[in-house]
Amino acid sequence: MPDELLRVEGLSKRFTGRGRNVAALDDVTFSISGGETLGVVGPSGSGKSTLARVLLRLVEPDAGRILIDGEDWRALSPKTLRRRRGSIQMVFQDPLSAFNPRTTIGKAIMDPLRIHAVVDRDARNAVMEELLQRVGLSADMSSRRIHEVSGGQRQRVALARALASRPRLVVLDEALSALDVSVRGRMLELLVRLQAEEGISYLFIGHDPAVVRMISHRVAVMDHGRIVETGDADAVFSDPGSETGKALIAAIPTWRRSGSA
């Protein structure tokens, strides 16, 4: 029986004010096992990003439970929550804005090492350099700042930071969407390799079903804040059951085969 790492039940979040009244999350329930990748797809406004932020407790939901290793995350005190944060980390869509422009890359990666006391002070620098190398970057990048490295390298830095606290789950919120196509494939391979080596679970949020399918074991389709379909990635994408799923797949550009008009 695969161990259940994350269990989400009945998560709901409504945004009101300024004339808006929209259910960003509506009774969302799902689970992720250790070492598994759950992909989340859906049109814009379907609630994917809100899900990521609620899961990370950047935004408080109106209702629902978040259980990590059986522990109720919503019931944690702020201090305990901060300590537990090491087990779930996030890679944001835009790495440039996800890093303090004044902090060096090395310092940014050492922050989680320090905060979660992963290793003692003397070992921190070495561990930070090792993390950079694991994501395919050179250790001398640690003295640079995030805007001084290329786009593809930035997301690797973000991944290194996310891995520093030895998380059990990493949420990737459209993390590959802004990357060049040729870089995307390499990042996907890196993520899969790390998963095999560390047993990390991923919540992979994306708007391109083809990319999500590459790395996900199972996939959830969201629309208007609800999960409308879940299942094995191949099964869902080859024969979607939900209207949303069908629309997403139908929208993927098909290459006209030579000979047809």
Binding site: R82, R85, R102, S165
Partner: protein, 277 residues
């Protein structure tokens, strides 16, 4: 620190401003050494014009005191007041603005109403009122000017903080598990500061001028020589001995210009430019 200095050095205005200020600072600090003597001492014939007598290069005032000595000693008071007030204004303003921006809610509302209250009163009048009540010493003057000038930095800091709060790197810091206090001081404040620091030149310039005006009105520190005081004393002799007011006036102008140029260079040096993709 080094890249900051390098960027600063690449701005000609900043370097020019720094040179002017360094010159003034040297003069102020080294005053007792290069011009020993009491600026209040009567040393020669009164109203000697400048460049007339080698021992009094800038002439003497109506009491026979050496203008050059008074000018140099006067820079001490003016510059001290100018910079100290700016420091007070920026420190107080930034703290208040940051607390308001980060806390939000009633605290934010309350603090902003306090800012409104201080902003309604023109800075000079506030300083005037304060000095009349508390007495004209340099410390009181610094405090008085600072009280008038902190509202600008407060509003600016708050606006910056409100914007920075929503940035992904602040969210990332929360996700990493950083303590809120550390987020405030390491992630938010250093990034909110540069635009606020660009107000330095304006505040210092205004402070120097307000101090001069207070001295001009006779509300300055009677025990120190200040440029404003010199201008005030020369007021009655503007037609016969204009140099008595013009010379300290030039001192004021160079201080203000120097601060302004330095401020430009500071903004240049502090801004982190993103790479052009």
């Amino acid at each position: 620190m080094k890249p900051l200095l390098r960027r600063f050095a690449s701005s000609p205005e900043g370097v020019a401003g720094a040179l002017i200020l360094l010159l003034l600072a040297f003069a102020a600090v080294l005053a007792p050494m290069i011009l020993p003597g009491d600026p209040a001492a009567i040393v020669g014939r009164p109203l000697l014009p400048p460049f007339a007598d080698a021992s009094f290069p800038l002439g003497t005032d109506q009491l026979g005191r050496d203008v050059l000595t008074r000018l140099v000693y006067g820079s001490q008071a003016s510059l001290t007041v100018g910079f100290s007030s700016a420091v007070v204004a920026i420190v107080v303003g930034t703290l208040v603005g940051t607390v308001a921006g980060l806390t939000g809610g009633l605290v934010d509302e309350g603090l902003m109403r306090v800012v409104d209250a201080f902003q309604i009163v023109p800075g000079f009048l506030l300083a005037l009122a304060f000095v009349s009540v508390a007495g004209p010493s340099l410390a009181v003057i610094v405090l008085a000017i600072g009280l008038g000038a902190w509202t600008g930095p407060a509003r600016l800091a708050r606006a910056e903080v409100l914007s920075i709060r929503e940035r992904d790197y602040v969210a990332a810091a929360r996700v990493v598990g950083m303590h809120p206090a550390e987020i405030a001081f390491r992630e938010v404040l250093p990034n909110a500061l540069p635009p606020v620091l660009s107000l330095v030149s304006v505040i210092v310039a205004a402070a120097v001028l307000i101090e001069a005006a207070l001295s001009f009105l006779g509300l300055g520190d009677p025990n120190s020589v200040t440029w404003g005081g010199m201008i005030a004393e020369g007021r009655n002799l503007l037609r016969s001995a204009p140099f008595l007011s013009i010379i300290p006036g030039l001192g004021l102008v160079s201080a203000v210009v120097g601060v302004y140029l330095f401020g430009e260079g500071l903004v240049e040096g502090l801004s982190i430019r993103g790479r052009r993709l």
